[in-house]
């Protein structure tokens, strides 16, 4: 460069060097425009999510909880079901961190075992919702017309069913068990997912890139897989992170009414229900720990869901 930085800074309209008044050779000029590096949708979403400390906290908690649920009962020296009538209702101590219950079982061990059941219910319910919802909503939205109309009417009727009453009725018919709970939760639960998927499909169906791939003669299934699925993933993931806690909550609610998982299995809801009566006797730890973990898990899922929603919503990114 002919001119030093200092000189450039001092140049004004008046003292511009005469030799600068010559045409530039267009071919040689370097493009000044900066092109910011383009980031893919998912890595950009991940970057956004990582910035959200609260959401990362939730994610971290859930990972830890998952590990504890998997390995806690195995590592613990105490059995989940074995009763020790000499160790009834012990307060938290060095040997029993969360105390023991009225049958002398270690609450710490049972809490992780309960986590297994609660998380299992939540995750399976969300997965079943996902399967049915995506298939139903995808078909309804993609085919459209009369089919769509009928399929949506069916959803409307299902949506009108008071969900907890259906669940309770099913529990009566099928008898309380883990399977019943999951069936009951998913009977009405998938409609929300189906609606979301349908809405997204309808919106995307009219977009140009879909029309474009249609005109190239792509098969419908290929269009769904290549275009619609990646584009609907955002709302679906968010919906799933919110389904899991609501399934966990429903399970706890049912167990609390005595309609949930039966002994000797213990979900958090069952433990909390048992703990409620123990509270009056002063054995607070029996309610406190399961209740705490239900709340923390719901909290973690909710803040993670919020974070995902912000990170995955293209409208909020600017």
């Amino acid at each position: 460069m002919i001119h030093s930085r200092d000189m450039q800074e001092k140049t004004t309209a008046q003292n511009v060097p005469e030799e600068w008044f010559r045409l530039l050779d267009r071919k040689k000029t370097v493009q000044q425009t900066l092109v910011r590096p383009s980031v893919s949708y998912w890595s950009d979403a991940w970057i956004q999510l990582k910035k959200n400390k609260l959401a990362m906290l939730g994610l971290g908690f859930l990972i830890l909880l998952g590990i504890a649920a998997l390995f806690g009962p195995i590592v613990s020296p105490y059995s989940v079901t074995a009763q020790h009538l000499t160790l009834q209702n012990l307060a938290p101590s060095a040997s029993h961190w969360f105390g023991t219950d009225e049958l002398g079982r270690d609450v710490f061990t049972r809490t992780w075992y309960g986590a297994r059941i609660s998380l299992f219910v939540g995750v399976v319910a969300a997965l079943v919702d996902l399967l049915i919802g995506v298939a139903y909503g995808g078909i309804s939205g993609y085919i459209g017309g009369k089919t769509d109309l009928v399929m949506m009417r069916i959803i409307e009727i299902l949506y009108g069913l008071p969900y907890l009453l259906v669940v309770i009725l099913l529990m009566v018919v099928m008898g309380p068990s883990l399977l019943t709970i999951i069936v009951a939760l998913t009977v009405t639960g998938w409609t929300g997912m189906a609606r979301i998927v349908r809405g997204q499909v309808l919106q995307l169906k009219n977009y140009e890139f879909v029309t474009a791939s249609k005109s190239f003669g792509s098969k419908p299934w290929r269009i769904v897989r290549k275009n619609l699925v990646p584009n609907t993933m955002g709302p679906i993931i968010v919906q799933m992170t919110l389904t899991v806690p609501s399934a966990i909550f429903s399970e706890a609610f049912l167990s609390f009414l005595g309609l949930g998982v039966q002994a000797p299995f213990a979900s958090w809801g069952v433990m909390a229900s048992d703990g409620l009566s123990a509270l009056l006797a002063g054995y607070w730890w029996r309610l406190f720990f399961p209740a705490l973990f239900i709340s923390l898990t719901m909290f973690a899922f909710n803040i993670l869901g919020d974070g995902l929603q912000d990170a995955l919503d293209p409208k909020l990114r600017r």
Binding site: M152, R153, E156, I157, Y159, G160, L161, P162, Y163, L164, L165, V166, I168, L169, L170, M171, V172, V173, P245, F249, A252, F253, F256, L257, G258, L259, A272, S273, L276, L279, W284, L287, A291, I294, S295, L296, M298, F299, N302, I303, D306
Partner: protein
């Protein structure tokens, strides 16, 4: 508008019929007779037959179905099997008003506080109030109502002796159950209002209103709120449903003499008439609420009234 109402009304009747049929089929899929073990006494075969005849259980299924549909239409469910002295209508008449009072108060409290919190959070977006309100809201969603109820009892009744816990004898007795029941829905509403308010505030018509020089208060109340309320109205039906069924748990904790106890008892003892009666009654009530919600939606959004579809 009339067409819209009629359309919704027919959908409501259809839904009710589906529920009635489902309930009927489910009830009859249960193995075993309710009379095998009546109030702890084992009955003779003859006595069971007698009772079954009285409750039409010996009839073929289609006949039972018709009798059942007729009883629903006329709202006469007959006596409870376990407590023959009482009809289902008696039980509902005794328990429901209490449950309804609790549920409606909770709903009103939830909607009012939720809407106010949500609006303030949206207007002070990313400010202190926003963070406080949203932290409160996430906590409200995260803590199950039975946990909150126990916490409230422990703190305000046992430790501080401020409020009476248990039974249903006046305002002081109502405070804790209502708070326990309203907190979750309140949190949901607050979050919904906040996000829809934030969305609405970026709309062009809000800028148009600002360009008219209208003060922020009028813009929020007149232009933004009505639009921001739409998503809340949509979930109001399901929220009302979850509050009304939520009363079952709260009633159990606070020993409130509502429908919850009868219903749970009836399930455990297979008291068909009571199960069916309560289910149908609650379903009808909730579906009627969804119907009202649809009407409110039509009123809030003039575009709905015009469209022939009327449902989206």
């Amino acid at each position: 508008m009339l067409r819209f109402v009629l359309n919704r009304f027919l959908a409501m009747i259809l839904t009710l019929w589906v529920i009635a049929t489902l309930t009927f089929l489910l009830m009859h899929a249960i193995p075993g007779s309710p009379f095998n073990n009546l109030n702890g006494k084992v009955l003779s075969d003859a006595a069971v037959k007698n009772l079954e005849a009285h409750y039409h259980i010996d009839q073929p299924l289609p006949v039972q179905y018709l009798i059942y549909l007729k009883s629903i239409a006329t709202f006469t469910y007959g006596p409870s099997i376990k407590q023959p002295a009482q009809t289902v209508n008696d039980l509902l008449g005794r328990g429901f008003p209490v449950s309804f009072e609790l549920g409606m108060w909770a709903l009103v409290v939830a909607v009012l506080t939720g809407v106010v919190l949500g609006i303030f959070a949206a207007l002070k977006h990313n400010g202190l109030i926003d963070y406080l309100a949203m932290t409160l809201a996430v906590l409200g969603i995260s803590i199950p109502n039975f946990v909150l109820a126990t916490l409230l009892i422990q703190e305000f009744a046992v430790n501080l002796h401020l409020l009476p816990a248990g039974t249903w004898q006046g305002l002081a007795y109502m405070i804790m159950p209502i708070i326990a029941l309203a907190t979750g829905p309140m949190a949901i509403i607050a979050r919904l209002i906040r996000s829809s308010m934030l969305e609405v505030l970026t709309q062009d018509y809000i800028r148009t209103a600002q360009a008219k020089g209208l003060p922020p208060f009028i813009i929020v109340m007149k232009h933004a709120l009505k639009n921001a309320l739409l998503p809340v109205v949509t979930v109001l039906g399901t929220l009302a449903a979850s509050i009304l069924t939520g009363t079952f748990v709260i009633e159990k904790i606070f020993a409130i003499p509502g429908m919850g106890k009868y219903f749970v008892d009836s399930i455990n003892s297979r008291d068909y008439p009571v199960i069916m009666g309560t289910t149908m009654f609650y379903s009808a009530l909730l579906i009627f609420m969804l119907f009202l919600v649809d009407l409110a939606y039509g009123w809030l959004d003039p575009r709905i009234k015009q469209s022939k579809e009327g449902s989206k």
